[in-house]
């Protein structure tokens, strides 16, 4: 599998570290909404199809990337720097 790093170009998956479900939004640091925290830490979207996920190009420029990849075909439809991106996230629900 190749991931096209926006900085380094297409690179083998061996250079990357997977950081999981990219839809999760971390609660504010001081948030006391424990359900939201729990959802953030433990609950993952795990779709069969396009998946919005975070990868780090750890064996290259070390940037974190937001990748949309199909979990059935491994086809990658988009890659962007995760930094400063306000792409699709899932607000962690929960009563405070």
């Amino acid at each position: 599998m190749l991931i096209t790093c926006p900085y380094c170009g297409p690179r083998d998956v061996i250079e990357f570290t997977y950081q999981g479900d990219g839809n999760r939004e971390r609660p504010e640091p001081a948030s006391q909404n424990f359900e939201a925290w729990n959802a953030y830490v433990y609950d993952r979207l795990n779709p069969a199809g396009d998946h919005n996920e975070i990868w780090q190009h750890s064996g290259g420029c070390r940037s974190h990337l937001r990748v949309v990849r199909n979990t059935l075909t491994h086809e990658i439809s988009s890659v962007a720097f995760a930094r400063g991106d306000h792409g699709p996230r899932r607000k962690m629900e929960g009563k405070s």
């Binding site: 900085y7 190009h57 750890s58 290259g60 420029c61």
Partner: protein
């Protein structure tokens, strides 16, 4: 001043090795620059950092990811967004940049001791490096002067193409001897000379 010890020392054997009867196809050396500095700009400040690089080294960085240039014992190349590695045969680069790169532009990190630079040159340099790194070394894909960040398993490397058939590989000092031995081993097939 005390001389710096090379991490390759006990395994650095000048001379021809491997299958060299019909000539050596690569030459391996350690370039031992006096300074290696990492520069990193804050988002939006990259242009100012590039200007500072020009001011300090006289090197004009070309545009684009991984762009780089070398001249007169100095070299610079981008290895990550807003980040550059600068090397100089002379010492004191970190101090010079500390003055030129203010906190509003970015940061300066001295890696003069932390990285070891191994040079591989010769007609089979691409062939030997392709044994280690899953990147395209062909000239159109990796032009002279440019840099690449990559890794061979646990060994992280920044590779600077300093000539058509010449590459400078920056590796972590602690891994340098192991990588050097592997590079020598892989070069045996084509015949190599250590200089």
């Amino acid at each position: 001043m005390v001389e710096r010890l090379s991490p390759l020392e006990p395994d650095f054997h000048p001379g021809s090795h491997g299958n060299f009867e019909h000539g050596v196809d690569v030459i391996l050396t350690e370039t031992r620059p006096g300074s290696i500095v990492q520069l990193a700009a804050w988002p939006g400040e990259e242009k100012k950092l590039i200007a500072a690089i020009r001011a300090v080294t006289g090197l004009a960085l070309p545009d684009g990811a991984g762009g780089g240039i070398s001249s007169g014992g100095k070299s610079v190349f981008g290895f990550a967004p807003g980040k550059f590695t600068v090397a100089d045969d002379a010492e004191g680069l970190a101090e010079a940049f500390a003055k030129a790169v203010g906190p509003a532009i970015g940061t300066v990190t001295d890696l003069s001791h932390g990285r070891t630079v191994i040079r591989i040159a010769g007609p089979k340099a691409e062939w030997v490096l392709a044994k280690f790194f899953a990147i395209d070394f062909a000239l159109p894909a990796f032009p002279v002067g440019s840099g690449r960040s990559t890794a061979h398993h646990d060994v992280f490397a920044q590779i600077h193409r300093s000539g058509t058939d010449q590459f400078d590989i920056h590796v972590f000092r602690s891994f340098a001897r192991s990588f050097w031995k592997a590079l020598c081993h892989a070069s045996e097939e084509v015949g190599y000379e250590v200089q």
